[in-house]
Symmetry: C2
């Protein structure tokens, strides 16, 4: 990994995901916790107005406002679009960011444990993820397929952008255990970067399990677009567990099970995430992949 | 119990508590499920605009708008105040309600199981609660102290008003198991009332455990009123379990435990309910009471 000079810790990109909000507030009160000798650590509360309102966002999901074209469009003037432009001025621009790494702290109602959502599978990011996977058995690592279009999420301002997605925790709630686990994960990231900067390569496991997104599934809906089923009780909270063809996926309101009709085993994530009802996502399917972790150079 | 002629099932009093919303929608689609021969069952979606917005309320908590003076005040014109007036015209007025019983369906992020929140300890309500406590081991029964001021909640339109509070479930999420358990609880209520109307007294247990509210505790806060601590990990999801003097209650953001300083064992409920952060309630304390259940006359 190239020398890291500036790292940004971001919380409250969604105003009702309190773990990140209160961690950022803690780090602003006690900055020595995130100070390391070889780089600077910035903190940012991304959507303060949504936090004050106790909502995910005021007008538009901030974490979908970071496409370059959108950031440059002078017509974009909702609260979140203006916040995105301000954050891009502070941390970006894409391709020439002012920070070397962004860690964006999120939470989910799904049973995602401590999930690391990578933007790509660059060796440096896989090495970091592999290191972190040793620090807590609940760490899991998700990654898009090899080539994807430009991403609209905040972490995409930096090529080394990482989302930490912890759950299950309800919107508007602090879970102390998840708060502490997330806090320790951040310290592990910072310590790892400090060691890299100082030429001390911390030991890594030889392989890393990656969960690659392959598809999103929506809920069964009526012709009017209304929900017609729920996540099946047998699937609830079973993120990262294998889903076999024929396994129950949904339960209709009149009590009929709907099975998974794919033809291979998949690994669902974001099962029953509250914020995804409006996005038409009941769960995301992933494939599991074991990756060899290359040595650092 | 006097003859029951009309029962109102209410959901969506809080727009982001989906269990009740979708149960009401199911009953409206399949009305035979709630039809009984000896009484009429009405259904009501209480706050449709908040449901559409995915929020607890639009302007004001609807479930605090039912004080008689507020209902009669022509100056009260927020969306929820107008909804409350409309609902009171449909089901009320207090003291002379058009329905004999109201069952208002709520959900909570606390581990409340299937909680029945009674407005009073009238023998008829205790008998019903005792009957229901046999149908599912997760049924618990809460009740205010003997005399309280007039209540501002929707169920108070009827002297036989009952809140069903199920959890833990995140706001904006359907949990299929809780959905089905709540549905079965409603059928048990309707079957019980049908039997009473027909003079068939279903067997009751000899005693019922009541949890009586004694106090609300707020989170530790800074001088500016900001949160300074979280529910302690050892207390999270421990609703209805005994809390002893000296047991950990909160954990400050800098990692210090704060103990319960009372002088007797209490039983907390609504631990870490998302909607109560803004109300200044971290948990409610109750006392446990065993009540003998009188025979029906």
């Amino acid at each position: 990994m190239n020398q890291i000079e500036r790292v940004a810790l971001v919380g409250g990109t969604h105003g009702n995901e309190l773990t990140g909000v209160y961690l950022i507030e803690k780090f602003q009160r006690f900055p020595h916790l995130i100070e390391r000798s070889s780089f600077a650590t910035l903190t940012l509360l991304a959507n303060p107005k949504a936090f004050e309102a106790g909502r995910r966002y005021i007008e538009k999901d901030l974490n979908r406002c970071f496409l370059s074209a959108e950031l440059q469009d002078p017509a974009n003037g909702t609260y979140e679009e203006l916040r995105a432009k301000a954050i891009a001025r502070q941390l970006g621009p894409k391709g020439n960011a002012q920070v070397d790494m962004i860690i964006d702290l999120h939470s989910t109602t799904a049973n995602m444990g401590l999930s690391l959502l990578l933007g790509n599978d660059r060796p440096q990011m896989l090495q970091l993820a592999a290191y972190l996977s040793q620090t807590n058995p609940r760490v899991r690592v998700c990654c898009p397929q090899a080539s994807v279009e430009e991403s609209p999420v905040l972490r995409s301002l930096s090529p080394l952008g990482l989302v930490v997605e912890v759950g299950p925790v309800a919107q508007g709630v602090l879970n102390a255990q998840l708060f502490q686990e997330t806090e320790n994960l951040i310290y592990a990231v910072l310590d790892y970067l400090e060691a890299c900067n100082q030429g001390t390569f911390l030991p890594l496991p030889p392989t890393l399990t990656l969960y690659r997104y392959i598809a999103d599934l929506d809920y069964p809906r009526t012709e009017q677009g209304k929900l017609n089923a729920m996540i099946h009780p047998q699937l609830q909270f079973k993120d990262y567990e294998p889903l076999h063809p024929g396994d129950p996926l949904f339960l209709t309101f009149d009590g009929k099970a709907i099975a998974y009709s794919g033809d291979s085993v998949v690994y669902p994530v974001f099962i029953n995430e509250a914020a995804y009802y409006e996005k038409g996502i009941a769960l995301r399917l992933t494939q599991k992949e074991n990756r060899t972790i290359s040595n650092r150079s």
